[in-house]
């Protein structure tokens, strides 16, 4: 395993953040690995793996003025990580319905008990303010088989008045 850092940034979104941050990391001779950026509730968020020859404290020192200027919270962790460690999902799950408190907890608890290892999760609230709609997409590995996941989803749908369905993922390698 190489010496990777995980950089987490959160703050008010504005154009150019990714360019400024990655430029600052490049100036530190940083090597970027995997990254995930998205807007959550109008906020800019990113987590990215970076390998920098400098120590964590030096990286923090050099990033702080850039993050202060951009008004971003930043957090840096030394992590055990490596590239080329992707796990292939074998199931995609969609859950949606009227927004309700606790639905993420109930859904993920049921899926955990059904043996699902979640690899990706995206959860959103759409609709309008008066009748918000909750939408969640998950990709994962069904450790106890697809049937167990399907049964868990059917039960979840019945008990919570949501639509919950799964589609097997059969990756075509050619």
């Amino acid at each position: 395993m190489e010496n990777w850092l995980m950089l987490t940034l959160v703050g008010k979104d504005r154009p150019g953040i990714v360019a400024e941050i990655t430029h600052a990391l490049f100036d530190l001779q940083g090597n970027l690995g995997e990254a995930s950026m998205t807007r959550l509730g109008g906020n800019f968020t990113i987590m990215l793996m970076v390998y920098v020859p400098e120590k964590k404290t030096v990286v923090e020192e050099k990033l702080r003025p850039v993050c202060d200027k951009l008004k971003l919270f930043f957090h840096l962790d030394e992590i055990e990580a490596g590239l080329h460690q992707h796990i292939e999902p074998d199931v995609r799950i969609s859950i949606h319905g009227a927004d309700q408190a606790g639905i993420v907890a109930r859904a993920t608890d049921a899926l955990n008990k059904a043996g699902l290892n979640i690899l990706n999760l995206e959860s959103d609230v759409g609709g309008n303010t008066d009748s918000p709609v909750y939408v969640m997409h998950i990709e994962g590995v069904a450790g106890k088989g697809l049937e167990a996941v399907d049964q868990a989803l059917q039960k979840l749908a019945r008990e919570n008045d949501v639509v919950a369905r799964m589609t097997p993922i059969d990756t075509m390698v050619g």
Binding site: H86, P168, D170, M172, G174
Partner: protein, 167 residues
């Protein structure tokens, strides 16, 4: 029989356009056998195209018969393949021998009609859909210097599709 070396992206040769096979010679038959041996040496792989092993002729092999849940034509040797019609659209996840450790969602036609020769030069027509049609489209792309990376649909874009079909 011989195992052939598979080109790995970003090898520029994967962007080369392959030429039609003009003569169905013994050399072509021997190459098809070597290509098949190479293809079968990768468990889980359902197809291969000649340019993936550095031979820029329009030859692809597809075999999804080990996935009986998908309707299929068995082992296919497709030389000078032409998709003559296509219908519908479907999102599915693809990977590639030439792009290790990466998979992504790609939109393909759901059903295709295909004309191709076998290694003896005999012309055949196929009608196929779903997983097999996806595999054939992926392999024919290689003949035109395209990889599935050129057709990726990002995860978030995929969510905005009204219907996400799986093949």
């Amino acid at each position: 029989m011989a195992l052939l070396n598979v080109l790995i992206y970003p090898d520029e040769r994967l962007k080369q356009i392959s030429q039609p096979v003009k003569e169905f010679s013994e050399d072509i038959k021997k190459f098809v056998r070597d290509l098949e041996e190479t293809f079968r040496s990768f468990p889980g792989c359902v197809g291969i195209a000649a340019p993936q092993v550095g031979r820029f002729e329009r030859i692809v092999l597809v075999d999804i018969s080990y996935k009986p849940q998908h309707v299929n034509h068995g082992f296919l040797v497709l030389i000078n393949p032409e998709i003559t019609s296509s219908e519908g659209a479907s999102l599915g996840r693809e990977g590639c021998l030439s792009v290790p450790d990466y998979t992504g969602k790609v939109e393909r036609a759901k059903s295709i009609t295909l004309e191709a020769c076998n290694e003896n030069g005999e012309e055949h027509q196929f009608r196929m859909s779903g997983y097999e049609a996806r595999a054939v489209q992926h392999e024919i792309d290689h003949l035109d210097g395209k990889l599935f990376l050129d057709r990726l649909v990002s995860r978030r874009n995929a969510l905005s599709k009204r219907i996400e079909l799986s093949t």
